[in-house]
Amino acid sequence: MKYAYYPGCSLESTAKEFGESTVLVAEALGIELVEIPDWNCCGATSGHALDHKLSIALPARTLGIAENMGLDVVAPCAACYNRMKSAEVAMKSDEALRSEINSSLANPYEGKITVHSALEIFTAPDVLNRIKERVSYPLRGLKPACYYGCLLLRPPKIVGFDDPEAPQRLDEAMCAVGAEPVEWYFKNECCGASLGISKSAVSVKLTGDIISNAKKHGANCIVTVCPLCLTNLEMRQGAAGKMRGEDLTMPVFYFTELLGLAMEVPGIRKLFASHLVDVNPALDAIEQGEPVPAGAEG
């Protein structure tokens, strides 16, 4: 199995632990990821917020390069995935737009390859089985609230590899590694990350709603597929707790970190140190014979 790998801007900086864990886990599972040379930013929310055409043209450039490589794309970040997939669908269905955009591209995109999210490929039935076989450090006692956010699931006509109202795939992945995902009710509610910097009051409120619900249902951590969500949930939980008058301290993981942890992929544990919110309380909850060293190895 071989994919063109699209890290996107966040996975290079604020979410580098997501990028690194994705690469490590893929390697451990024998999935080859080849970084798309000279990829560019997908435009993110700002792209489509201000300029519809640009929001398709930007990902189209990267898709064209990948098409040249002859490989399907994996975009781990839910936001990038959403934008890349929207561009794929628009380019495939709107011929006029396709030729217009392709005319400015060195590598035109003809719709021959498709985009996947990392969750999608890691939870494909055969891959999930391989993960189950590889688990050597089952995450029993870890009770994650699986948080899908919005961009991975919506709009279902474009993304939609999972049920938009009752998503399952992340929960399945967590069960596969022995964790015990909790039943909770804010799985697919928006956290307001795209307003995180410019209108933080909104994201503080939404973060509060989400973490509070996870806590209420017994979660000891949240697991995400989106760097925007993770950064937002980590950054805003202090303010949200203050606003609601509740203790909303809650470790937040990328799902790939937990897959790697359960498979004991070398180099995973040192990624935990880069979280803004201490993840050790969650790691400590894992019921295992061997003790989990505080502060991790890295």
Partner: protein
């Protein structure tokens, strides 16, 4: 009272939000707004039957000056200044909850996008200037480097909004954890990216 005159106006007194008197007629301005929205995002605002599902599910509706369904209502009536001058179109987080659940299949999220573009196009001052500046700074960044460099993005945004102190602590923490690189990474095909920009609205104004 609704009467029919030749102009599309909404007589909203400066400080009163409701209790306005509407004089409506399907003039050229009214249908022009609908046409432009459809051109920009493909959505026909007349398909909306005002059920309110979008408002019910919108995570940001509570903070908006008008509810999401009212954005569509105003667009249906062609009350352009009110829609394009609202905070709602800027506060929309683009989460697509509305588009997913709308029983009529209207993608309000895309109408929101179109309204923002129209507001900029018509030089209407964004009711939420910080959000507009952030988006703008983001795209400027993409245009310049091909990728987004979070440190410069945040720094320049903060200069533009003159808001230097919020989130500084988190920024320092991120920097210490090696998450914010000092030097932006550059895309080689920057000319190609500028070309994409120059073909779009955002290309015209250089920053």
């Amino acid at each position: 009272m609704t009467n029919f005159s030749n102009k599309v106006t909404s007589l909203v007194s400066e400080n009163a939000q409701c209790c306005c008197e509407l004089s409506l007629v399907e003039g050229p301005t009214g249908s022009e707004l609908k046409r432009r929205i459809q051109e920009l995002c493909g959505e026909n605002v007349l398909e909306c039957y005002q059920c309110g599902e979008c408002t019910a599910g919108c995570p940001v509706a509570y903070a908006m000056d008008i509810a999401p369904n009212q954005v569509l209502r105003l667009a249906q009536l062609g009350l352009e200044d009110e829609v394009l001058g609202s905070s709602a179109i800027w506060l929309c987080a683009g989460c697509e909850t509305c588009a997913t659940r709308c029983p009529k299949g209207v993608a309000l999220s895309r109408v929101m996008d179109a309204c923002r573009q129209l507001a900029l196009e018509r030089g209407i001052k964004p009711k939420e200037p910080e959000i507009a500046k952030f988006h703008d700074q983001f795209l400027t960044e993409v245009k310049r480097f091909g990728r987004v460099h979070e440190l410069t993005l945040t720094a320049l945004y903060k200069v533009r909004t003159k808001d230097f102190f919020s989130d500084v602590f988190t920024g320092i923490q991120m920097f210490l954890k090696g998450k914010l690189a000092l030097i932006p990474s550059l895309v080689k095909g920057r000319d190609e990216i500028r070309r994409l920009f120059s073909r779009s609205r955002h290309g015209s104004e250089d920053s």
